[in-house]
Subunit: 275 residues, 2 copies
């Protein structure tokens, strides 16, 4: 049934990543496939409405796919969320792809978070982190287990050696505090598109795959010994993060890019999964 | 009584800051004076042993002063700690000056922290922050009160516009997580000493004085409404920070620069104030 009028004749699919460069697309497909195949037994199918799995604005200048799979209950997985977004803006095309997975309160191990924000073919913001789920100041043992023993810092150090890479600072103080001390938050600016594709293929991809491997092996691998109070604390902190992340990130950008009506529909669908 | 043989004939005093440039010294003297005069009614005199207030190594290549004043009990102040350190190293002279004040569990407002690490006349690491005393992820209202409403981020943005300023990342993941999202953590590298003195006089000094003013007016200004559980939490978190900071920072650098014996004496005196 063609209830939803499609711009250009057909709906777009999540795994197509239709607007980004080949190495960028290859990376996203590999990360999502690895994540889904490793966590398959804990994941429910994506039950988002069709007009949230793919949505666009009235004029057809902005398109996006959203792919959310909730975790089975009980399992280690709260949900995984993948997305892409393409938007023609006066300054050029904006392309954002993201993949994140939140764990359940059966563990306090870090979540997984990756986002690639391409504001032009020669400018890319690369965000990759295992955001902590406890206050690291009060729990240095947690810092040791998940960040020091896993040597996550070496990826950051590798990237810093590439001349086109500069630190990136989120404009939101909350987001800035949410990430771990080993977070990769960089802006890559190249002289040409070929060099950008080379950096994505050789550096961004290998680092993202390694960090996902670390997360799957060390974080998404089993329950952690926690008391009832600990589980309540982690659940409360997770809820706060989900609420604030929507408010700061999507809550401000979606209405701007897709209009109030589309944004409200998409945000309501996300809220439903988050609650 | 001349029990402690002094290199060069006389002991050195904290407020002299004898080894740093004039603008660096002027800044430290002004910050310490402002801090002490504003908090005077809550501060006890410095009771450190003479050989901890000033200490040096056997060969006379490393000198340091330490100035710690505990807060009256009950008061908002846990302690204030000022220090300078001078060390002749093969690569050149290392000069560190610092000023920090920890608040008591009568408030959960942020502490004050400043450190200037000069590894050569043309290289300076500038650390300035009001480190939070709660988990900001769980308490966005705290972030709003102390970091957003105070517009602390603008100092960081001002500094980033100076071409000689680059971000600085502590090698300790724990220290990196301890600071707030508005923390100034930069390395300044200049072509000559005159330009460095200019940057210290015009930018570093004005920012440091403004942040100290913000801290005195917004943080060190009164009790905060907290339950018993909150006070216990803050006290526990503060203890952890003090313990880890000594372990990571002084515990590794002092033995290297001053020898085991001097380091043990100084660390024991600091531990006594911290407990």
């Amino acid at each position: 049934p063609q209830m939803d009028p499609q711009i250009g004749g057909s709906s777009k699919r999540f795994m197509d990543f239709p607007y980004v460069s080949a190495p960028h697309r290859d990376l996203m497909v590999e990360l999502v496939s690895t994540m889904e195949s490793r966590l398959e037994s804990s994941l429910l199918p994506c039950t988002l409405p069709q007009d949230v799995q793919y949505y666009h604005n009235h004029t057809g200048t902005a398109h996006a796919c959203l792919h959310i799979r909730s975790g089975l209950k009980p399992s280690l997985i709260d949900f995984m969320l993948g997305s892409w977004l393409h938007c023609e803006l006066p300054a050029g095309a904006l392309n954002i792809t993201s993949l994140s997975t939140y764990l359940s309160p059966l563990t306090d191990a870090p979540n997984f978070l990756m986002e690639l924000i391409q504001s032009s073919p020669t400018s890319l913001v690369f965000i990759l982190d295992l955001p902590p789920r406890k206050d690291l100041v009060l729990h240095p043992d947690y810092l040791q287990t998940f960040y020091e023993a896993t040597q996550l810092n070496r990826h950051r150090q590798l990237l810093e050696k590439i001349p086109e890479v500069r630190p990136y600072s989120s404009s939101s103080l909350y987001i800035r505090f949410l990430v771990s001390p080993t977070a990769i938050l960089v802006r890559i600016e190249t002289g040409g598109t070929e060099r950008m594709e080379e950096i994505v293929r050789h550096h961004v991809s290998s680092i993202a795959k390694e960090v996902l491997g670390t997360w799957l092996d060390w974080c998404a691998c089993g329950e952690r010994d926690m008391g009832e109070a600990d589980r309540d604390y982690v659940a409360k902190r997770d809820r706060m993060i989900k609420q604030k992340t929507i408010e700061i990130d999507l809550g401000s950008s979606l209405p701007r890019l897709f209009g109030e009506e589309v944004a409200a529909r998409v945000l309501a669908a996300i809220q439903e999964v988050f609650n």
